[in-house]
């Protein structure tokens, strides 16, 4: 199955990055999706027999999820992750939300405290179109996936794939798997070097775990 295509599963279509993330989760696991939006990824996980829970900031998002029968609570990644005990989940997912947190580093550390593994996806600010808009256009980049203007965006901590890899090294996080997706949600060649991913990856998806005996 090509990971990038929006695939059909149980009669409905899922986003390419959701299928990629879901593919990283072992069957029968317990998963927390932080910033779960309308619950599309949680529904995909539950359809695969995975015990999924969610946290969502927006009241509308939460109520949509609960009205779908999902176990979702209203909460904030920055302030509410501390309420979860250590090792409560097999995986904690942070999908397209890291850049909107106030303290991405603390959030990342919490993800790997609560979960044995974390799956983090984020828009790559090093993507060539971003660079081009800043270099040639001289203005803050806006894309189809990130259409907000600089003054009303919730995204306050953009980073590049390179920046994220550096942060993982600094806080002793092991990268078990890394995938960069192009503009169409298709994974880039695995053999491509980091600089290529950083330039041509529209988003990065990382499967992380705690490194060695650091904890």
């Amino acid at each position: 199955m090509p990971l990038g295509d929006a695939g059909a599963e149980t009669g409905r279509h899922y986003r390419g990055d959701h299928l990629l993330v879901a593919g990283m989760v072992d069957p029968g696991s317990k998963v927390l999706d932080v910033g779960c939006g309308d619950g599309d990824l949680l529904q995909l996980l539950e359809s695969r027999g995975i015990d999924g829970r969610g946290i969502e900031l927006s009241r509308e998002g939460v109520n949509h999820c609960v009205a779908k029968g999902l176990a979702v609570v209203q909460g904030d990644a920055d302030t509410d992750l501390i309420n979860y005990p250590d090792d409560a989940f097999d995986y904690v997912i942070l999908s397209q939300t890291l850049q909107a947190t106030r303290q991405p580093r603390v959030v990342l550390e919490n993800l790997l405290r609560i979960g044995r593994r974390a799956i983090v996806s984020f828009p790559n600010f090093g993507f060539w179109r971003m660079r081009l808009q800043l270099l040639i256009g001289g203005h803050m980049p806006r894309t189809d996936n990130l259409p907000a203007t600089w003054y009303d965006t919730p995204n306050i901590h953009f980073c590049t794939i390179k920046d994220f890899v550096q942060l993982c090294d600094e806080i002793n996080v092991k990268m078990e798997r890394a995938v960069a997706l192009d503009l169409y949600g298709r994974p880039l060649r695995l053999s491509a070097p980091w600089w290529f991913w950083n330039m041509f990856g529209e988003q990065g998806v990382f499967l992380l775990s705690r490194a060695g005996k650091a904890r």
Partner: protein
């Protein structure tokens, strides 16, 4: 403007005769489960209540493997008449909007039970019931009861009905407290719990409002230290004032303003008197006077007391999460933005404790200006959530 709340300007005497109300306490227009001397109800205060009875209503059919039963727990001033005409007031059931064919609590799919709480006055044993030892109304001789006592009695009723595990326990306000007590006391008997507009403990402010209500009842000379049944009176003025104060706490500033503003009642100008010049005054007096027709004053004292004593964490070394340790029950917690009696912060504290116990929990805060009473009203977002939560619980249970 013609108001639907047009009433005389002072609190009138009840239209329903006290005899009818007292008769309902012993001989309810409901199903009754009677528990004899061999099955006492052990109360938290140390007394074994015996004999006692529980009045209850059911809707829908219990399925063959007894897996579709839902227990609805009623709030302070409500009763077991969830979805049928009330035997005293003749009004529709208090949750008909939620319970019935095709409703979120679909009586085509589920078997629904609601029991009058112990200490109530609609047929379950309480201070308005006759004390078999004296042949007189219990009054203040009735032992103090707690929320856990109410739940213990409900569990005995379910034993009697042959229902081991409930598909869902639900309720708002005091009914939500019972719901949470069910999960803490009998986690294996509760497959899912829908706790609405409630808390795991009664706050100081809420205790204060209850004390105000109780003092109003006890200040009425017709109360006679709780022996008003013997005197042939009922402290309807005091109880009406208690209800008026309580009713304000069930609404919100915005809801009162939207409904009444500063509008006058059937007049253009102030009367320069203490008549109910304002619509909001007229409305409150109506609420007070209609309440006393169907509710027993002593029962109001006992049930408010039970709520005041409620504190799940206190029963678990002060740590709320311990009450839910390892629990398998699926939770859905719902609060309303304008509810200042049981504010969202209380629900959030519960959700944090459930998360710490790794319980499966959903939590939705619903935006409405209708205050605490929103759980009884037409709030479609709440219906959608209740319906979906029940359906997913039913699917998980193989219904």
């Amino acid at each position: 403007m013609v108001s639907v709340y047009s009433v005389p300007s002072s609190i009138p005497s009840p239209a329903i005769h006290a005899d009818e109300r007292l008769h309902e306490a012993d001989h309810p227009t409901s199903l009754v489960a009677r528990f004899g001397a061999d099955q006492p109800l052990p109360l938290d205060c140390g007394i074994n209540l015996s004999p006692f009875q529980i009045a209850y209503q059911t809707y829908g059919e219990l399925n063959a493997d007894r897996s579709n039963a839902i227990l609805i727990c009623h709030a302070l001033t409500l009763d077991q008449h969830v979805a049928n005409v009330h035997p005293l007031t003749g009004k529709p059931g208090w949750w008909e909007i939620m319970v019935g064919p095709g409703r979120p609590f679909d009586t085509n799919s589920y078997f629904i039970i609601c029991a009058n709480v112990i200490g109530g006055c609609m047929g379950s044993t309480g201070p308005a019931s006759t004390n078999p030892a004296t042949g007189k109304v219990w009054g203040l001789d009735f032992p103090i009861i707690t929320i856990p006592d109410m739940v213990r009695a409900q569990a005995m009723l379910l034993d009697r009905l042959g229902i081991e595990t409930l598909l869902c326990v639900t309720g708002g306000s005091m009914g939500g407290m019972q719901t949470l007590q069910w999960t803490a006391a009998y986690p294996n008997r509760v497959f899912s719990a829908l706790a609405v507009a409630c808390s795991t403990r009664h706050s100081a402010q809420n205790i204060a409002f209850h004390e105000l209500g109780r003092q109003a009842v006890m200040a009425d000379p017709d109360w006679h230290h709780g022996r008003y049944a013997d005197e042939g009176t009922h402290p309807h003025r005091g109880l009406a004032v208690a209800r008026m104060a309580g009713h304000i706490t069930y609404l919100s500033d915005a809801a009162l303003h939207r409904k009444f503003g500063r509008r006058m009642q059937d007049r253009e100008l102030p009367t320069f008197s203490f008549d109910a010049d304002f619509q909001v005054e007229s409305y409150l007096r109506y609420q007070g006077s209609s309440f006393v027709e169907r509710f027993d004053a002593n029962s109001y004292l006992y049930l408010t007391r039970a709520m005041d004593y409620f504190d799940i964490a206190a029963d678990h070394d002060g740590v709320l999460a311990r009450a839910f340790r390892g629990i398998k029950t699926r939770f859905c917690v719902v609060s309303f933005t304008s509810d200042w009696l049981f504010p969202t912060s209380e629900s959030r504290a519960l959700v944090h404790a459930l998360n710490a116990s790794s319980a499966r929990v959903s939590f939705a805060e619903i935006e409405t200006d209708r205050g605490h009473d929103a759980f009884l009203l037409d709030v479609p977002e709440f219906f959608d959530i209740a319906r979906a939560f029940l359906q997913s619980a039913g699917t998980a249970r193989g219904l």
